[in-house]
């Protein structure tokens, strides 16, 4: 078995065996998605879809990956893995992969649910695809960065709050109107892509956010809880 897949598989096993983390990553985004869908009341499909994507990506990819990194560092798993043959990038990929895959799957399920319950097919399907993939990528990258200053899995509940709520706020702001500042926020960019209003500016915003978060996250990744 490929080492990264083996590590990702072990992460999935550990995720499923921790009821709290499993509920946070698996159920909460779907419950929230259902609530957005019900509250849209057969109208405002774009708002429901955008909020579903942003909240699922935030909960499943961003918060869960930050918590997982902090927990693995705290229980010394990261240090132990680093003493083995895997490269740093492979270890990071192994830890992130389950949340990335799960995030994409949830976004696909939630998008399908919106379409099945009567929403029109998006005018620009590519925007929706990019909103899913780009949003998951930026949340994974920012999760890696946030983990660098998150000491424990418990602390992740606090350290992830600003970005998560900024993403939700950005999405609401971007849905309300074409504001360039809103589009520059990750949540706003995902929302603009989801509702098919724009493609270039949100993609640029997501690429910049992802690149900056990756560079900073990789540069400052801590493997050892000491110090």
């Amino acid at each position: 078995m490929n080492p990264v897949i083996a590590l990702a598989r072990s992460e999935v096993l550990q995720l499923l065996r921790n009821k709290t983390t499993a509920a946070m990553a698996l159920l909460l985004p779907l419950v929230l998605g259902a609530m957005f869908l019900i509250s849209s009341d057969g109208q405002d499909w774009e708002i429901a879809l955008a909020m579903q994507l942003v909240s699922a990506q935030g909960l499943t990819v961003y918060i869960s990956s930050t918590s997982a990194f902090a927990a693995r560092r705290q229980d010394l798993s990261l240090k132990r893995l680093r003493s083995g043959e895997l490269s740093d990038l492979a270890i990071i990929a192994g830890v992130l992969t389950p949340f990335v895959v799960l995030g994409v799957a949830q976004c696909v399920v939630l998008s399908a649910a919106v379409l099945i319950t009567g929403a029109p097919v998006p005018g620009n399907p590519l925007g929706l695809v990019v909103a899913i993939l780009g949003g998951v990528a930026v949340n994974a990258a920012v999760g890696l960065l946030t983990a660098t200053f998150t000491a424990t899995a418990e602390a992740a509940q606090i350290t992830t709050a600003p970005f998560f709520f900024a993403a939700l706020g950005g999405a609401i702001w971007a849905i309300a109107g074409d504001n360039p500042w809103a589009t520059a926020l990750p949540g706003g960019a995902v929302a603009r892509l989801a509702i098919g209003e724009d493609l270039v500016r949100p993609v640029v915003a997501l690429v910049v956010w992802t690149a900056v978060a990756c560079v900073l996250g990789l540069r400052h990744t801590r493997w050892d809880p000491r110090g």
Partner: protein, 305 residues
């Protein structure tokens, strides 16, 4: 040194203003078991982590298989096994799942069942790592470290938390590995572990090597001891002239204690002196210095200038 696997010269390592390692030199030859001893904070784990490539040195030269551990990880790691001081075994995974995971992460995997049997965990294969006792978790760590049949094994306090039987089993496993040609660098608090296992050892004190060499070399640095109960009617001035020195406090308490670097000569003089006076030297003991004494002397006196 013939076939050095590890070469360290002038190693220094800082944590901010604190210098944990202050100029360590050491060599470990192929097939050798080298023990690093020292109290907590002596710099053992930091030295080991530099050799494992987990930490970059602040200064000095470090080579493992002739390569830099911090820069050549990809070439060194497939040849090494590492047992960290603290366990990083995945708590939610079972013992078997943990070993199978590690089997997937190494380039020369060996048999998982054999690794489990070697550390006596075969009957605990389906138990989660989080449910293991501290000693069992340590044995799981050891199974993981030895899984790839490494050429060089780093063991950071491998028997901490183990019961005597588990410790004996671990010593046997390490001896078998060394007999098969594995080079081992271990740190330990248990001096008897070094006495039983190590070909050579070093005692670290405040980040520096205070003493190093074979066990005989290290013990020869300390004076041997002759002791017996003061015979009735004998005063200190009655004793013969010896190379060694008499402990006056012990004599006042009723025991003759002599520290000497000429054990055989002084013992012969004492026995001749007692025979000439028809004295019984009750509870006579003549012993070389122990590693414990050497260790405590290093802690008391520090590193020789």
């Amino acid at each position: 040194m013939r076939n050095p696997v590890i070469e360290v010269r002038g190693l220094r390592c800082r944590y901010g203003p604190f210098e944990a390692v202050r100029g360590v030199d050491l060599d470990v030859a192929q097939g050798e078991l080298f023990a690093l001893l020292g109290t907590n904070g002596a710099g053992k784990t930091t030295t080991l982590e530099v050799l494992e490539g987990l930490r970059a040195p602040s200064a000095g030269t470090v080579r493992v298989f002739g390569l830099r551990p911090d820069a050549d990880r990809a070439r060194i790691r497939p040849r090494t096994g590492v047992l960290l001081q603290d366990s990083g075994a995945g708590g939610a995974l079972t013992v078997l799942e943990t070993l199978r995971l590690w089997q997937s992460l190494i380039s020369r995997p060996t048999d998982v069942d054999a690794a489990l049997a070697a550390v006596g965990l075969d009957h605990r294969a389906d138990v989660r790592a989080s449910a293991l006792s501290g000693g069992e978790r340590r044995r799981l760590d050891l199974a993981v470290a030895t899984l790839g049949d490494p050429e060089l094994l780093f063991l950071d306090e491998p028997t901490t938390g183990l019961d005597p039987e588990s410790r004996r089993r671990t010593w046997g496993l390490v001896r078998d590995l060394v007999a098969r040609g594995t080079t081992v660098l271990l740190t330990t608090h248990h001096l008897e572990e070094a006495e039983h296992l190590a070909h050579r050892l070093a005692i670290l004190h405040e980040g520096q090597v205070a003493v190093s060499g074979t066990l005989v070399d290290v013990l020869d640095r300390e004076a041997s001891r002759i002791a017996f109960v003061v015979p009735p009617g004998v005063t200190a001035v009655d004793l013969p002239t010896l190379v060694g020195t008499l402990d006056p406090d012990a004599f006042a308490a009723g025991r003759v204690e002599i520290r000497t670097r000429a054990l055989q000569d002084d013992l012969a003089v004492l026995l001749g002196w007692a025979a000439a006076r028809d004295l019984q030297l009750a509870r006579l003991r003549a012993t070389h210095a122990s590693l414990t004494e050497v260790f405590h002397n290093v802690q008391d006196k520090g590193v020789p200038a």
